[in-house]
């Protein structure tokens, strides 16, 4: 889409054009579905709520971020609200503190699972474990990991979507990545041993 087309599309969206809105939903709903599913473990009504809120709020959308980033912000807020309604225990992580490498590295497992065959790394059992590992992350880490690494938003877009600083995004991202790596290292350890003994 050229800048001109983008501007026309936005004007149509903001004036309540249903066809333009349908196009927006068509183009972004897979991403929003994935984001909701990865934060919640399922998508519940987040998808519908996100677009209903977006449609109402479009006339006041100021374009300070891209529409996609703005939709992600709404979806993340909806998903977090849903988690709170379910009363999932919250684990707080103080992200105002700089990354403490000593604290994070104290229990790093050294298992080189890169050598495992793809079918082992991506078996249905492994995928299930990976899903569960994401769900075990505190919300603050999970939201950053989902937006940055799974949805491919930039550091700046992730910061805009979550309304936190870029430094906080970076700190949370590193913590999330290290925790997931650690979980996978422990999970794959036995398989690596088996592979070595072949």
């Amino acid at each position: 889409m050229s800048n001109n087309e983008k501007s026309e599309f936005l004007t149509a969206l903001q004036s309540g054009d249903r066809q333009a809105f349908a196009k927006l939903v068509e183009e972004t709903s897979t991403q929003i579905y994935r984001t909701a599913r990865q934060i919640l473990g399922d998508e519940q009504d987040v998808l519908q709520e996100t677009y209903m809120k977006a449609f109402k709020a479009l006339p006041t959308f100021e374009g300070r971020s891209s529409i996609s980033t703005w939709l992600h912000r709404i979806a993340v807020n909806e998903a977090l609200m849903m988690i709170r309604k379910r009363k999932t225990p919250m684990v707080s992580v103080d992200d105002t503190l700089p990354f403490e490498s000593d604290e994070e590295s104290s229990g790093i497992e050294i298992v080189d699972f890169c050598c495992l065959p793809e079918k082992e790394l991506l078996s249905s059992e492994s995928r299930k474990f990976m899903d569960q590992a994401i769900q075990r992350l505190p919300e603050t880490l999970k939201t950053v990991f989902v937006l940055r690494d799974l949805e491919g938003l930039s550091i700046q877009e992730t910061a805009e979507a979550l309304q936190i600083t870029e430094n906080n995004v970076k700190t949370r991202l590193l913590r999330a990545r290290l925790r997931l790596r650690q979980e996978l290292a422990v999970y794959y350890a036995e398989k690596v041993e088996k592979e070595k003994s072949k």
Binding site: A22, V25, T30, Y51, M52, I110, C114, D149, L178
Partner: protein, 91 residues
Amino acid sequence: MSEHVHTEKCSTMLGDLSDYIDGNLQAEICAQIEEHMKTCDNCRVVVDTLRKTIELYEHCSDNVELPGEVKERLFAKLEIKDYLSTVDSPK
């Protein structure tokens, strides 16, 4: 399975890992990390497996599609079902 006994250098490197993996680190610091990994096998494994972790998650995420019935329900709820077949496919 072994546990990483890290030195001060390893700890410093850990804080820069995300930026290193994403290619957002200054060339000079990248060179220091690469030099360190030549002699620290544990750190090399951490870097490789961290990269692999992200790659595996990306792969699984890319394969998640919006189920047809969820999409239909969404378009019905938003009252845009009439446009479902007429909108351009995403590029």
